[in-house]
Symmetry: C2
Subunit: 301 residues, 2 copies
């Protein structure tokens, strides 16, 4: 059913969100004329001009479906992206994954230095909450408080950081499919789900309405990670702009190692169909969200 | 004038806040029965049972003067302390200050490992905002939003993290007194000032009332850092529970190197007198805040 979803808006939406996120970070991060200049330059290096902007895309598309002002939604999307970027900076550090390339350019600690990378990550982490608590741009305190709650939960030990800890343990343990699923729900799924949820919060969607969007987000979060494992397994390093096949070399359990590539691909497509099924209460206004779900597993990198 | 302030409550207040902060972190951080256990154990190792708890003390004392429920103030104090502890963890990393001891025990990356230290710091950072956005414990969304805004600003590139960047630059630059003052206002002063300000937010103090408390906080923040430089210069490593005299070895400009010990000590005392002067609108209910100001420069470690 969902395989016939075609959306001509998607390429334009991808271009537009990439430009909007870059412009927003550019405006938020002016380089000061003091000794903090190096820190802000490092934050800009990591935050501007790279990545697919999946999380802002999900937030802005959900908010757009609910008629939220785009500029507001982009700012909230940038708060989420700031969390994502900080997690990549820290993940790339020598004591973590020790990666040399990210989005086709040197990782932050290679371009600057490790201390600056730690601080730039910490500062982007703080920036996310500065953006969400800016009373001039997001005037409703109830909405601000809800957005902060959603993002903080997705991000901490019971969300993304917890998933990263499990990922470190996975290097020396044999994880089964339920444990890998749980790991990925925390490491990647929590922030992707928060992206949809925060769009819904901006749209003042009541709890019942949010439930189906949460199911949608949950399914595409898992599909996204399976697609990531497949790209890691079969993808092109140049196109990906980073080192691939590190999981297999480290002997880590992934969806591909546990299911095989064919079953993993089937599973990802089934999850996308299921995700799109959760949008059945919506008409044409949700077509872009349907197209994003499809893109999650069909993206080239 | 202020030198006659004697407060018999202070020793009890110091003991009480230490116990309350430990109990609060203990309750907030149960160890889960999964692969995240190591992360939570690391967070507990760093957050429980160490430090003077100056920031929670300032928050809880200010809130107490304004008749705020103590349990609520302690939770907010723990959010601030979580930020302070995360900054110490990251500051101690090999790529930063490379410290082996903190509060008389091995630093987190020595006791666990570097990757766990990075993640535990990140998770404590997130925990601060989880605590402040907990609608069950802090029911007023306007207050939650204000607390988040205050803490996020004190913590990011325009606050603590910006000061840490300046501190790194200070290792290879000759900073003058105004620049060192600015550095310390960001690195240490911003979070100490936020501690007082967040107590005032909890107490729903209007803007005029907050101004004098902000001046108080600003002065003791600077006095605290001068006292820190003096302790670093003259203190006992065993009592401090960490390595001392690293700044002098690194040739870094400090208040002591720029002013000399005697003038630095006079300056710290003058700032404390000035801080206490800002409390003149208050009666006996501010005596503990006055005693805290005095303690800031007279503490043994």
């Amino acid at each position: 059913m969902s395989s016939i979803v075609v959306n001509e808006e998607l390429p334009a939406a991808l271009d537009r969100i990439a430009n909007d996120v870059d412009a927003c970070f550019d405006a938020i991060l002016p380089v000061p004329q003091d000794a903090r200049a190096r820190l802000i330059e490092a934050m800009r290096y990591a935050a501007i001009g790279g990545g697919k902007r999946m999380r802002p895309l999900l937030c802005v598309t959900t908010a757009g479906m609910l008629a939220v002002d785009r500029e507001t939604a982009v700012r909230v999307g940038c708060a989420i992206e700031a969390i994502h970027v900080y997690s990549l900076i820290h993940d790339d550090l020598p004591c973590m994954d020790d990666d040399a390339l990210r989005h086709g350019k040197p990782t932050l600690h290679r371009q600057f230095d490790e201390a600056t990378a730690v601080l730039a990550g910490d500062s982007l982490h703080a920036l996310a909450f500065e953006i969400l608590s800016d009373a001039d741009r997001l005037p409703d305190p109830f909405t601000r408080a809800e957005l902060v709650s959603c993002l903080a939960q997705a991000n901490g030990a019971n969300g993304m950081a917890g998933g990263q800890m499990m990922d470190i343990v996975a290097e020396t343990s044999e994880f089964d499919l339920p444990t890998v699923t749980r790991l990925q729900q925390l490491k990647t799924g929590a922030l992707l789900a928060a992206s949809v949820e925060m769009g819904a919060i901006l749209g003042h969607l009541p709890a019942e309405g949010r439930r189906s969007l949460r199911h949608y987000a949950h399914d595409i979060g898992l599909a996204f990670q399976i697609a990531d494992d497949l790209l890691d397994h079969e993808g092109d390093e140049e196109l990906a702009g980073k080192a691939l096949r590190k999981d297999a070399q480290a002997g880590k359990s992934t969806f591909v190692s546990l299911l095989g590539a064919d079953r993993a691909r089937d599973q990802a497509r089934a999850l996308v169909d299921q995700a799109i099924g959760h949008l059945e209460a919506y008409g044409r206004e949700a077509d872009l969200l349907r197209a994003v779900a499809r893109f999650v597993v069909e993206r080239p990198n």
